[in-house]
Amino acid sequence: MYDFTYTKPSSIADAAKLLAADPDAKFISGGQTLLPALKHRLNRPTTVVDLTGIAEMRGIRREGNSLVIGALTRHAEVATSAEVKAAIPALAEMASNIGDTQVRNRGTLGGSVANNDPAADYPAAVLGLGATVVTSSREIPADEFFLGMFTTALEPDELLVAIRFPIPEKAGYAKMRNPASRYVMAGAFVSRGPQGIRVAINGAGPCVFRQADMEAALAGAWSADAVAGVKQDADGLNGDIHGSAEYRAHLVTVMAKRAVVAAG
């Protein structure tokens, strides 16, 4: 990796200031995306701002009908949290299947969501539950947060602080893994609750997206059979050596069915 300076602020305000002052600085939390990119010299930040010293970005707490999870919360913590398991078991289940043990013990919710890798897991949960992204300066609804491949509504000096998940009546997630990277080939997160019926698809396209036809079908009848007949258009989906866009489009339906079954 190229040389960079390292700093570890202890408050959200200090971290945001560092980024505002230097457009070539980068935030790091668990480092599961940034570090490999640095090692491959694909990224050349002047300063790496380590967020892990900011206490107010940690923690899992219930707030009324929502579950608020701090951005620095590691996947393993979400997976094993009694609070998460009780409120949104599908989210705990998702977290328990992200990457491998090492990734789950380092990677964080905020890092994954802010990075918005099309093949990451968490964006599907945020969009599929209709969560709210709490930042250092505002609150952004999930529907307005994920803008495109590796692109979000976050401003360069805006810090993702926490995510507020409304607690659904039902939620479920299913994915097919890429056999090499184990990232998501195609996944579906479905929920029914305060945010209505939502189906979020990850892995298959350049960015996580809602599948409106499936949501309509589930509104008619909450069952796997209801989504089984909904075909995903392959146009615009990802195609590579691991599977064509047509294959991924087919997987979208299969994963949606499975997610509904998992949701119960």
Partner: protein, 790 residues
């Protein structure tokens, strides 16, 4: 001493001595070696599949912080090309095309990863920073990566002076006899397949440290090698012109080879040469991306085959036409892989009387291809075992009975095949029967029906394979084009108080030699395993050696130790005779004890060795002091492990995902020294074979870019991609080596791929499928199911 011996000798599952240091992070790998004053090399590699170098400007790079030197091929004038160790002759008797393989590119770049220049700096990071400042101007040229495409008229040439990209056009067998067999056949079965290109991906990337002693003129190379003496020979004699006496090559702990660390690579020559030129030790270690684009790849055959059968299903003849991808240059043993390690195996376990095979080797704009676990035998086995299944289906024979009908009879050994090899022993009926029993073959249809209820397609597949290990004898391989001998060397050094050091030319990079070899010594000389140390991997310590590949270490290296121990015993008997005042002919030896026959007079080995090193009461006029013997063992033949592998898979209809459910291996690897290690070797081999069958695939795009250049895109099997592997052995002894051993390192990778694919095809039996190419990935299977009307 004797009382505890049987538990550690031949047949005991002694725990691996080497594992304490490996599992506690205390192995000493090449990258762990740091020499005083050491500097670091970074290699600029081609990003182009094919390009002409217009200019290389290293001025800016040389001025970067910490940079000591930047070298291109212009600086290495007088250095030889990287040699090839095997010369194949064409059908017409002319030698193969053998292009120069420069250490650093000369004029042209021929594959992504081709080394262009080397930067040497005080730190790794500085070297890489400077490497990015090298101004390389090229003219990109059209490339060809596909085996068949490279032979097509008008294909871009990899080497300007090699027409049609043809390395050689070789054949074996009797063409007219085979044609005649086809003329009278009742059934003719045709089959075409591609054996997918693989990347070994040893856990430890390649690494090399060069050092030079200005006072003695001695060069030392620490390198991740399976055969340090071979590297010393090739690099010293052909590339750098260093006499063996001034070149020490050390291959310390090596973290996996699988063939990819047999070969002499450019980086070894670069660090050795640069260390002498600069007077500083030079280290280079590949990162994973470099490994993908610079370690030799494996397999990559395109084959068309036909089998002729009579009405009852007896095989009459086999015709095979194979095109083998060599990559851009000839790696050390590349030419022999699709010839003498492939076509000679096309009889398999069958008594096919007439076989004719043609092999064209082809240059392409890809990383050189060479031996990878199995080397030629997996390709032959895959072809045969798929072809037999295809024939059974096409002609209406039961796939088991068709195999049984054509097996070489158990009493037919030694058996001469029509493709040069003479098998010494085997019992294919027993390994088949045992595997059918263990796998529950007879009850499969019930399991298939149960799986169907779960929406799964279940299939079972079989492979009855044979392979050839311990390539030999030297005189024969020499006549076939080998530019080296293929013996092995062992020294047994009995120390004064009876402990033993063994020096072996074999090299352990995960195989557990330190344990297995110690067991051999324990079994024969009666010394506990803990008191037998195995030294390997250092040309400064071990007299000579050819290294470890082709499952040869025990059959060839172990036999050399056995012969050296015979010499120890013979000398020991003469010393014992003197000490016990008896005739030499009256001295008996058994596991460490010399006895005067018919008496209770005995001397143990430690007493003999003490007498040998402290020769106070010693026949000094007749026998030299000391107790150390060396033997070179040149085998009379290959060894021929064989057996039966059975795979059971389930396919998820909705996604096409194939899951291995269980795997049964019954292998005849000859005498088993350590059953636990054999089981581990077979399991590891099966994992690699399953990887090839279901997951692994090296992919180039049309422009010659390596698409599967990282773990993100090259699918290696993980533990949860596998299934329980039941390993059993059924032993027939090798008849021509003193241990009766055959070899177990590659059987898993050789026997398993066709078993898995046969199971996949069986699972899809209702879909009219006759073949699925490797790897059988989910989208591929889904396309078959999706395209069907079922």
């Amino acid at each position: 001493m004797n009382a505890i011996l049987p538990f550690e000798g031949i047949g005991a599952s002694v725990k691996r001595k080497e594992d304490l240091r490996f599992l506690s992070g205390r192995g000493q790998y090449v990258d762990d070696i740091n020499r005083p004053g050491q500097v670091y090399a970074w290699i600029l590699r081609s990003q182009y599949a094919h390009a002409r170098i217009v200019s290389i400007d290293t001025t800016a790079a040389a001025a970067m912080p910490g940079v000591i030197a930047v070298f291109t091929s212009a600086d290495m004038a007088g250095i030889g090309g990287i040699p090839c160790g095997w010369q194949i002759h064409n059908k017409d008797g002319t030698p193969m095309a053998e292009p120069k393989h420069p250490v650093l590119a000369e004029g042209k770049l021929r594959h992504v990863g081709d080394p262009v220049a080397v930067v040497i700096a005080e730190t790794r990071s500085q070297a890489r920073d400077a490497g990015e400042a090298i101004a390389l101007e090229v003219e990109a040229l059209p490339a060809v990566t596909g085996t068949t495409e490279a032979l097509a008229a008008g294909a871009p040439r990899v080497h300007d002076d090699i027409a049609g990209n043809l390395c050689y056009d070789w054949h074996i067998g009797d063409k007219s006899m085979t044609d005649a067999a086809f003329a009278r056949a009742e059934h003719r079965v045709a089959f075409e397949t591609t054996n997918n290109r693989l990347i070994a991906n040893a856990m430890e990337p390649r690494s090399a440290v060069g050092d030079y002693d200005t006072t003695t003129g001695e060069h030392t190379l620490f390198t991740t090698s399976q055969n340090p003496h071979v590297i010393r020979l090739l690099m010293g004699a052909f590339v750098l012109n260093i006499p063996e006496s001034k070149l020490r090559v050390v291959a310390p702990d090596v973290g996996g080879g699988f063939g990819s660390k047999i070969y002499h690579y450019a980086e070894e020559a670069i660090v050795t040469w640069a260390a002498a030129k600069l007077g500083r030790p030079v280290k280079w270690t590949a990162d994973r991306t470099e490994s993908f684009m610079s370690d030799a790849h494996g397999r990559d055959h395109v084959t068309r085959a036909e089998l002729a059968l009579d009405k009852e299903g007896t095989f009459l003849g086999l015709r095979v036409h194979t095109q083998a991808n060599m990559g851009a240059y000839l790696s050390t043993f590349a030419p022999c892989v699709p010839t003498y390690l492939y076509a000679t195996l096309l009889a398999g376990v069958y008594s096919t009387p007439a076989i004719y095979a043609e092999v064209k080797a082809v240059f392409t704009h890809t990383v050189p291809v060479d031996a990878y676990r199995g080397a030629g035998r997996p390709e032959a086995t895959y072809l045969l075992e798929r072809l037999v299944d295809v024939a059974a289906k096409q002609c209406g024979f039961d796939r088991i009975e068709l195999r049984r009908r054509n097996f070489i009879a158990t009493d037919a050994f030694p058996y001469q095949t029509p493709v040069a090899l003479e098998y010494d022993s085997g019992d294919y009926f027993s390994t088949l029967n045992q595997a059918l029993e263990t796998s529950g073959w007879a009850g499969f249809e019930a399991r298939r029906a149960e799986a169907a209820k779960r929406g799964k397609l279940r299939g079972i597949g079989i492979s009855t394979y044979l392979e050839a290990c311990g390539i030999a004898p030297s005189a024969v391989v020499g006549s076939l084009g080998a530019r080296a001998g293929l013996y092995e060397v062992g020294t047994i050094r009995v120390h004064p108080t009876g402990s033993i050091t063994v020096l072996t030319g074999a090299h352990s990079h995960g195989q557990g030699h330190e344990t297995t070899f110690a067991q051999l010594v324990c079994d024969k000389l009666g010394v506990p395993v803990a008191q037998v140390d195995i030294v390997h991997g250092d040309t400064g310590k071990v007299p000579f050696g050819m290294g470890t590949y082709g499952s040869r270490s025990l059959a060839v290296g172990g036999s050399a130790m056995e012969k050296a121990m015979d010499k120890i015993i013979a000398k020991g008997k003469r010393i014992a005779a003197h000490l016990m005042e008896a005739a030499v002919e009256d001295i008996e030896f058994d596991r460490g004890t010399f006895r005067v026959a018919g008496t209770d007079k005995t001397k143990v080995l430690a007493e003999i060795s003490l007498a040998a090193y402290v020769p106070h009461n010693y026949p000094i006029d007749e026998i030299e002091p000391g107790l150390e013997e060396t033997a070179f063992y040149d085998p009379k033949n290959f060894t021929y492990p064989g057996g039966c592998h059975i795979a059971e898979v389930e396919i998820e209809k909705e996604t096409g995902k194939v899951s291995l459910i269980n795997f049964t291996a019954v292998d005849d690897v000859g005498r088993v020294i350590n059953p636990m290690i054999v089981e581990g070797q077979v399991q590891g081999g099966v994992a690699q074979g399953v990887g090839q069958a279901l997951m692994e695939n090296c992919v180039y795009d049309a422009a010659g870019q390596l698409i599967s250049a990282s773990m993100m895109d090259y699918a290696m099997p993980r533990a949860d991609d596998l299934a329980p592997v039941s390993v059993a052995t059924h032993v027939t002894l090798c008849t021509h080596n003193p241990l009766g051993v055959k070899g177990c390192g590659e059987v898993g990778a050789i026997g398993s791929p066709p078993a898995v694919i046969n199971a996949v095809v069986d699972a899809l039996r209702d879909y009219g499928v006759t073949h699925v190419e490797m790897p059988a990935t989910a989208p591929k299977i889904w396309s078959i199911i999706h395209g069907s009307t079922l």
